[in-house]
Symmetry: C2
Subunit: 457 residues, 2 copies
Amino acid sequence: HGEFSSISPAEFFYRNRQMAGFGNPSQAVYSTVRELVENSIDACEEARRQPDVRVSIDEERSGIVRVTVSDNGTGVPYGEVPNAFARVLYGDKFTARQRRGTFGLGVTMAALYGQITTDSPVIVVTQTSHTIGRYYQLLIDIENNQPVILSDESHEREGPGTEVTIRLKGDLNRSRERVYDYLQLTTVASPHAHVELAINGSSIMKMGWWHQILPAPTTASKPHPHGADLELLRRLVADAGERSLHSFLVESFQRMGTRTATRFLKFLAINPRQAVNTLGRGDISRLSSALRSFDGLGRPDGKCLSPIGKNAFLASIESVFAPSALTYGSRGPTEWSGNAFIVESVAAIGTGARAADVPTLYRFANRVPLLYDSGEDALTKMLKRVNWVQYGVRSTTPVSIFLHLCSTRIPFKAAGKQSIASLPEIEHEVLSLLRELGRSLKKTLKRGERSVRDAQK
Amino acid sequence: HGEFSSISPAEFFYRNRQMAGFGNPSQAVYSTVRELVENSIDACEEARRQPDVRVSIDEERSGIVRVTVSDNGTGVPYGEVPNAFARVLYGDKFTARQRRGTFGLGVTMAALYGQITTDSPVIVVTQTSHTIGRYYQLLIDIENNQPVILSDESHEREGPGTEVTIRLKGDLNRSRERVYDYLQLTTVASPHAHVELAINGSSIMKMGWWHQILPAPTTASKPHPHGADLELLRRLVADAGERSLHSFLVESFQRMGTRTATRFLKFLAINPRQAVNTLGRGDISRLSSALRSFDGLGRPDGKCLSPIGKNAFLASIESVFAPSALTYGSRGPTEWSGNAFIVESVAAIGTGARAADVPTLYRFANRVPLLYDSGEDALTKMLKRVNWVQYGVRSTTPVSIFLHLCSTRIPFKAAGKQSIASLPEIEHEVLSLLRELGRSLKKTLKRGERSVRDAQK
Ligand SMILES: Nc1ncnc2c1ncn2[C@@H]1O[C@H](COP(=O)(O)OP(=O)(O)OP(=O)(O)O)[C@@H](O)[C@H]1O
Ligand SMILES: Nc1ncnc2c1ncn2[C@@H]1O[C@H](COP(=O)(O)OP(=O)(O)OP(=O)(O)O)[C@@H](O)[C@H]1O
Ligand SMILES: [Mg+2]
Ligand SMILES: [Mg+2]
């Protein structure tokens, strides 16, 4: 037998960085930009300010790229900067509400890739509303998954927000087009945000603020009964102490009112007044199965979600793509394994996309554009399952579908957050929504053909 | 700002279990079988015994499945069992030689999924050549990524080897066909192995031992210069003490002989006699870039690899598929980012596969069949890039391609180990090999058509 050992999560992602989007020098530039920009927009929404995010990419010499992203967000509390930026699986987005970030991994991955390819520390300048600015240079101790602080000093900054600089071995030429598309589509899914891109000192784009209203803030929801796997339930029970089972259910879960809880426990033949800490393992097991298969609960609480919404989504697509016709649809909130989600979509005609028998698909998850790995993605699969020809989509009509899935947890296929796993609840809603849009498109396309024929007479 | 915290790697994979192949009850059964079987075959090869692996799957009641896999491998040393089976990122396969396992994650993931869906501990009975048998029941403390030992007692067993039982919520009907295919193809890629499958007490298959010769054992290679990223180099330098730079290079890297090292350092204008621990960061940085772009090195050392080989691969495919014609090819060893790899392939005519313009592809990585997520896989992409029609492949000729990539590190796209990332070095070798096989096929197909025509006269 070999020698047994463990590896840190930083070591795991160092060895398998292609799983996190850092497998080649072109995708590495893209992934660096997207991880930083996502963090910036999350932070600006948290600060309740319209995001003003500036990206500069400089090719220092062939194959060495410097990426800097600055924002007007909350800033990062000083004590937290080293762990936030130089430790894997550390962050403040582990709660049950929709954010772009989710793993506590993204920016540390980008810093790690920069460090192992160019020996550069990640540079962070940040300021919160209670502090003056501070400047950090950080390396990652990969074997132990902890930060190494090279610099930590005060630094002037014009106001709250953060600026992050990463220097990496990257292929700018191969990645610049996709970076541009990502930033443009970022404003489409976050119409309240503004993004600038400069490459080698030249301004490439300044766009956004298509819609002035900030999305309503999200608040974490209580767990949904369908998410009550044994680990979740065990933790809730451990915190419940001597509380009665009935009040435990009502307090711990959403959609579990007093009468529903009474009915549920009667059906399970468990005494509702029994103290939770006296439940045996068998009871907890039965409780978990029963909660997970409990039908007839209301729709999940949507206050943890932040859909783009009809007005904002139509406004941003009109501003960016100038289509000749648009239609919006949305479904939910519903849930997959207890995770609340909404799917919303805009079908647009005449956006300059290539006309084909299948519409061009733009995918979004928690307002983040997904530009890689569409092949095995659940959204792509559902698009292909629709018989678009029957709705009048032909290779003469350039139709684009902008499809946004938002959830308290996005079931990504890999840590690079580019592709959505096939889960029946999500696929069902996406497919139904696409068909709704298809029917709506059909009317518009028929009207359009009629008016073209009328014009030709 | 929210509350900052870290999550354990077990917590990460609990929340994101679809990334590791445990996203739905059908794939969960498949993933449980494959994670256990891979471990068993790795262990039998380590023990230098022909693997005799027995899989039983029992549906206890609707939707609850019990999977047991037993082997005649090395067994697991007692002190290591709790961490090996109930701790994520822990194992003995982190060295630089080809194994099926690689992350120290697989079996713990299966145990975790079983635990959260059925409250069952993983059951392990194991015996090594120095010990009597021992029986364990383990749970995973997910928040802290550590084992919880429910039972640990001596237990009779007929000899060295291991038996693992996992009870999980699973969809047996949806998964059984793919489990069967996986086991059958496992014997194709490991012709020295024998596999049995029983479902609900009935024997479903007993097959293997198509080739009696065990593969030669693999031994870890020294790092290759092209793998000298800054983290690897920093660690090697840290261990090198006061050794001279010249001897450091010769000792630490494969393909770095005394004259090559001298020439390399002269070109870099660094004193070969300089003590390694006096190198500055700038020198180490330059050394890393120079090593990674150093051309003209020999092929990497192949003793860390275990290709199936022509005789064994042809024998297993003939035994399982009874094709009318077969041709074998292989390329390498070469390397991607310093990781040695070989690609080998058999093209078979008339295997019962559906005839089409593109051959049916069977993918293997480190002798493990890959049955999911073919869409974005590098091997699939290269198959589609070949113009098979020019080689005579038509929808009248059922052609199958069995394609095996083996490497000291497989660049999987996700922790579920089903799909290979697009890396240029690997794609280049795969595409070249497929075209070689195409040319070989063309001759065979022409001959076949001629003989059919002759027979018809
Ligand atoms: N620009 C920023 N402004 C404010 N806070 C930030 C910024 N960038 C990073 N952070 C903080 O650092 C933490 C770690 O960031 P990181 O990108 O690694 O993880 P995440 O965003 O939580 O999840 P994910 O891995 O999905 O991106 C965040 O949770 C956030 O608290
Ligand atoms: N049947 C077995 N016989 C002997 N050792 C085993 C067996 N199953 C597991 N092990 C030991 O337990 C360790 C952990 O197994 P696990 O499947 O989690 O990781 P791995 O096989 O190293 O990598 P991977 O995550 O890619 O499967 C292995 O490295 C091996 O040492
Ligand atoms: Mg992030
Ligand atoms: Mg394993």
